[in-house]
């Protein structure tokens, strides 16, 4: 079929072949190995590893902090994107370039840097300490690290969408009597919502898998500040490959379910419009 319908980009067969090959070699096969490794365990061993108190604590921290970090990024990433798109000020290009820094920095470096800043005697930590807020070596520190890691995803997804919101739309809404907040809520937000959700999803996915920057700032106390990826590494260091695979499998399932849910939400939102159009 694809061959009979001439397309702007030719070679559907070839490109589809590459797509399947790369997805298989780089994504599907390793995941299968993971599942097989986990499946080779006895059922009660699996349950023992996966539902141990320490594992449960790490799930809560990993997914909770990631979700919180992605939510923070949703709000502030939007504001940053807005500032960069809508205003022209000296140093705008510089700030725009800074956004990508967390992409480029080795995660361990950002982890160490954050720890230095937020430790009890760090630049910021020393002022938070008297207020009773401890950042480094608590779940707050984990969230801070994950926020830093995820921020570029939201900004970069929202920027192009914001560029598309024409000034004319806001002007039109204003002449029709809408106040600024109303314009934001009814015109701007709905237009950029899909991009915002995409950014959120990417930031969340990245945060769940993050390892390097967190382990420096987390303190890694079992049950309290230990993230699941670290727990997996600990199992590996004890040569307990099966246990590591089991934990990995659980992360895989939870992540997949959450990402799928968000994607379905988006599709559903889009379909609602199409239905409204009928």
């Amino acid at each position: 079929m694809a061959l009979r319908q001439p397309n702007v980009l030719p070679g559907f067969g070839l490109t589809f072949g590459f797509t399947t090959f790369f997805l298989s070699a780089l994504v599907l096969l390793p995941l299968c190995a993971l599942v097989l490794m986990a499946a080779s365990m006895q059922w009660h061993d699996f349950i023992h590893v996966v539902l141990s108190a320490r594992a449960l604590g790490s799930y809560r921290l990993s997914f909770g902090a990631s979700f919180l970090a992605a939510t923070i990024n949703l709000v502030f990433g939007f504001i940053i994107a807005w500032t960069l798109v809508r205003y022209d000020f000296p140093g705008r290009k510089l700030i725009d370039a800074l956004i990508d820094m967390p992409f480029a920095l080795p995660t361990a470096v950002s982890g160490i840097a954050l720890t230095t800043v937020f430790a009890q005697n760090g630049w910021i930590g020393q002022y938070l300490e008297p207020l009773g807020i401890k950042v480094a070596y608590t779940w707050i520190g984990v969230t801070v690290a994950l926020t830093l890691i995820g921020m570029p995803f939201v900004v970069r997804s929202v920027q192009p969408a914001l560029l598309e919101v024409q000034r004319d739309l806001e002007d039109a809404a204003e002449t029709l009597g809408a106040g600024r907040f109303y314009v934001f809520r009814r015109i701007i937000l709905p237009t950029v919502l899909p991009a915002l959700l995409t950014g959120f999803t990417l930031a969340f996915a990245r945060a769940v898998g993050e390892y390097g920057s967190v382990i420096f700032i987390a303190g890694n106390l079992p049950m309290k500040t230990e993230i699941t990826p670290l727990l997996i590494v600990i199992h590996l260091e004890e040569f307990d490959y099966q246990g590591a695979a089991a934990l990995g499998f659980v992360m895989l399932v939870i992540s997949f379910v959450m990402l799928l849910t968000i994607n379905l939400l988006q599709t559903w939102g889009r379909r609602r419009h199409v239905q409204a159009a009928r």
Binding site: D168, L169, D171, T175, L176, G177, Y182, A277
Partner: protein, 588 residues
């Protein structure tokens, strides 16, 4: 009055994009703001809508001063060129937007929506998304949306710009019908003169931020007051003519009989610009077979068939018959644009290269001065250099005025006669140099009406100072000033100067002269200008004002030519600003 603008000025980075616009639009009127892109028409519309503030002036809607009221409080409906529909909302949601903002009940909203959809002929489209509509339909939705909250004023910003010709016409008709049915005051912005003619009750033509002329379409077309309007509204041949006591002459040939009610300023003989529309020109094989007044002979240079009309370009047998155009075109040969109907084509078929006799059926003489520029210098090299002067070149381009050259070896030598006949038609231009005041006096004494003194580096001014030394030249100076200011985006300031020792009792006279000047400028020329009253020595005070900031120009009206050097010598010779001297004999 539905919309009242009073001296509205909007600057962008210091340059006025809307310059002193005053305008009254009546209830239920369809007003079209017409101008080329960058003329400030859209900015003015946005200012009326409240989407951009103004730097100066007042805006009133239905008698209510809204200058400082935000867009949402003005009760206007605005339609954009690119529709600006909310793409994530259905047609129904788009139209109901203004009502939803105002918390109108769902039932009433729906009723209003049905009404509006019927009005724009889109019944049953309620649940479509904008992306599922054609451009024309989208713009109809935008119109309905802008009318939902029953605004007192409907503003349309190039609403047909993005549509193809057929849809455009259809939508144009719809908008005209809707406007009539609702009796809503409407302002439409466009650069398309055909659109303006088709829709407008009145048209206001804008250029360079100024509102040049206002009038009913037919009036503006047949009797424009300015070169810009004459050429922007349809095609026009601009021909230099001579205004005499008996009427208008083209070269040596009187065509007074043809002129439709040309306003004559005084009895002074001077150069004017005559507008001849392409369709008012007749061509015939011989002079005798013309049914209209004979103008000259010419060779057909180009024929273009455009359907209903045939367009021709006829090259004139130039100087011999003394006919010169008011603008310079590339190679210097004068051309006339002619259009003929099918009927005329059948009566006399013309082929390319054929020599024909040209007659004019109707001529309109522009009442504005500055008919042409003549560069005058002591030798040819200087004259050529002066024609390249940036301000002059810019002015001539903007005004579509021709620049001719004249070499006067004895320029400025007292008692010497001028070489090339006595008359100095139009505006004579000389370069700033040490004895320029003497040269100016020399020229004025020998019949020049206007002398422009240009420093080599002068550029289009930001501010034009206007002053006349005698009330007798007030009208002439104002007319010239208005002509200049239509073509530069500068602010105009009239400076009245009274001697230092003026007794207090005399001062009200000065203020009255100021007010008279301002009202004449506004009433006769549509020129808004600021006025300032100063005390002191005239030349000294003007020099001080001109020295305050760069980018200024002086327009100086004088009556007694003999004492120009004595009074204004240093002012003219400073070579830092352009000065345009306007001389008129006492016509009282």
């Amino acid at each position: 009055m539905s919309i009242s603008l009073d001296q509205v000025t909007k600057r962008y980075q210091g340059v006025p994009v809307v310059n002193d616009v005053s305008l009254d639009i009546g209830d239920g009127e369809f007003f079209v703001l017409l101008g080329p892109s960058g003329s400030g028409k859209s900015t003015l519309l946005r200012a009326i809508a409240g989407l951009s503030g103004v730097d100066h002036g007042r805006i009133a809607l239905h008698g209510r001063d809204v200058t400082h009221v935000a867009a949402r409080g003005r009760g206007v409906g605005l339609v954009f060129q690119n529709y600006a529909l909310f793409r994530h909302m259905t047609v129904a949601e788009n139209i109901e937007f203004a009502l939803r903002v105002r918390r109108v009940k769902a039932g009433d909203r729906q009723k209003r929506r049905q009404e509006l959809l019927r009005l724009v002929a889109l019944e049953g489209m309620d649940q479509r998304l904008p992306a599922q509509l054609s451009g024309g339909q989208q713009q109809r939705v935008a119109v309905a949306r802008a009318l939902a909250h029953k605004p007192e004023v409907l503003l349309l910003d190039e609403p047909f710009g993005a549509l193809d010709a057929k849809i455009r016409e259809e939508l144009r008709r719809t908008i005209r019908e809707v406007q009539r049915e609702l009796g809503i005051t409407t302002v439409l912005v466009t650069h398309d003169q055909e659109e303006a003619f088709a829709l407008a009750d009145r048209i206001g033509v804008m250029n360079l931020g100024r509102l040049l002329e206002i009038g009913r379409p037919h009036e503006l077309y047949t009797r424009p007051a300015t070169r810009f309007v004459a050429t922007f509204l349809g095609a026009a041949n601009l021909i230099l003519a001579q205004q005499t006591k008996d009427g208008v002459r083209f070269g040596e040939r009187p065509v007074s009989a043809l002129v439709a009610a040309a306003p004559v300023h005084g009895t002074r003989e001077h150069e004017v610009v005559a507008v001849v529309r392409p369709e008012e020109i007749e061509v015939a094989p011989k002079r005798e077979s013309l049914s209209s007044g004979y103008l000259c002979k010419g060779a057909v240079d180009e024929i273009v068939f455009t359907g209903a009309l045939e367009r021709m370009r006829i090259r004139l047998n130039g100087g011999a018959e003394g006919l010169s155009l008011a603008y310079s075109n590339g190679d210097g040969t004068p051309y006339l644009e002619v259009t003929r109907t099918q009927h005329e084509q059948r009566a006399f078929e013309v082929i390319k290269g054929q020599t024909v006799a040209i007659g004019v059926r109707r001529v309109h003489v522009l009442p504005t001065p500055l008919s042409s520029f003549t560069v005058c210098a002591a030798n040819e090299a200087l004259a050529v250099a002066l024609t390249q002067q940036p301000l002059l070149a810019e002015l001539a381009t903007r005004m579509k005025t021709r620049i001719s050259m004249r070499v006067e070896p004895m320029l400025g030598v007292p008692g010497a006669e001028c070489g090339d006949g006595p008359a100095f038609p139009g505006t004579t231009v000389i370069a700033s140099q040490p004895d320029v005041a003497h040269q100016a006096e020399w020229l004025l004494k020998r019949g020049a009406d206007e002398v422009l003194i240009l420093p080599g580096n002068a550029t289009p001014p930001q501010r034009v100072l206007i002053h006349w030394a005698d009330e007798a030249v007030r009208s002439a100076t104002l007319a010239v000033s208005a002509s200049v200011l239509r073509h530069v985006s500068a602010e105009a300031v009239y400076i009245g100067i009274m001697p230092d020792m003026t007794p207090t009792a005399q001062r009200p006279h000065g203020v009255r002269a100021l007010l008279d000047a301002r009202s004449e400028a506004q009433a006769v020329h549509g020129l808004e200008m600021r006025t300032e009253l100063r005390f002191g020595d005239v030349a000294h005070e003007l020099t001080r004002q001109l020295g305050e900031a760069p980018g200024q120009m002086l327009i100086l009206g004088v009556c007694q030519v003999g004492r120009l050097v004595e009074h204004f010598g240093t002012l003219l010779e400073s070579a830092r600003w352009p000065v345009l001297i306007v001389r008129r004999e006492d016509e009282r």
